[in-house]
């Protein structure tokens, strides 16, 4: 991984058409401005994680696996 130090107001260029500018730095978070052509998809990574997780959850699970999980999640399992 390439690591670059930047200050607010400075930029990084990726390829010919993508620019990422550090707009503001505050404790715990940074504000970025991204300039990219329309066809370049820019996503927060959380959306991708959610998509992947949804695809896993939707994948065929056997009814018996679901039953087993429900049994283990019940607050008072039968003695």
């Amino acid at each position: 991984m390439l690591v670059i130090r930047r200050r607010a107001g400075q930029s990084v260029l990726i390829g010919d058409n993508v620019e990422i500018e550090v707009i503001e730095v505050s404790p715990g978070r940074v504000k970025l401005g991204i300039t990219a052509p329309r066809e370049v998809l820019v996503l927060r990574k959380e959306i991708n994680l959610t998509r992947e997780q949804n695809l896993i959850a939707a994948r065929g699970v056997s009814p018996s696996a679901v039953l087993k999980l429900m049994e283990r999640m019940r607050p008072d399992p039968p003695a």
Binding site: E46, L49, T50, N54, A57, A58, V61, V66, L69, M70
Partner: protein, 152 residues
């Protein structure tokens, strides 16, 4: 009474008023807009989020209140708009929060607390609201480490 085909329960009757509409779909399923909750006492605490148009698409979910009683939800302007709300809803009062459960055959069961499904009771609208600035995990372990595995 209308009926629809489900993944785990065969044909199930449903009232048109029980349909939940996801105006934005869900990430990975952007074209799936209409779902019905299947909640049966025998299946507790799992609630199934079943697609109305695709019988094969059914998400097992668990109520967030049960996994994380003090869960803090913040909806983005876009999610509020999709839910037909003007302000942050009161969780447990006008909204139900469900975490989608993943059951990997070779791994532990986990719940996605990073992106809960938020269902608004009054509008019957729902979104999967990604909590980008939160500490919640997209793979929250659902079960404490198993005690002693039962001998079969």
């Amino acid at each position: 009474m209308l009926e629809f085909e489900t993944k785990y329960f065969g044909k199930v009757p449903y009232a048109p008023g029980s349909v939940i509409e996801f105006p934005l779909g869900l990430p990975g399923f952007e074209h799936e807009h209409r779902f019905v909750l299947i909640e049966q006492s025998i299946n507790k605490p799992i609630v199934f989020l079943q697609s109305l148009s695709q019988p094969e698409l059914c998400f097992p979910t668990a109520p967030v209140s049960q996994l994380c009683p003090n869960y803090e939800l913040t909806l983005s302007a876009e999610d509020l708009f999709a839910l037909g709300c003007h302000e942050q809803p009161v969780v447990g009062q006008d909204t139900l929060l469900l975490a989608i459960v993943s059951l990997a055959p070779d791994g532990p069961a986990t719940a996605n607390l990073l992106s809960p499904v938020v269902i608004h009771w009054r509008t019957r609208l729902a979104v999967q609201a990604i909590q980008a600035d939160s500490p919640y995990s997209h793979q929250h372990p659902l079960l404490a480490p198993a005690p002693v595995a039962p001998c079969l």
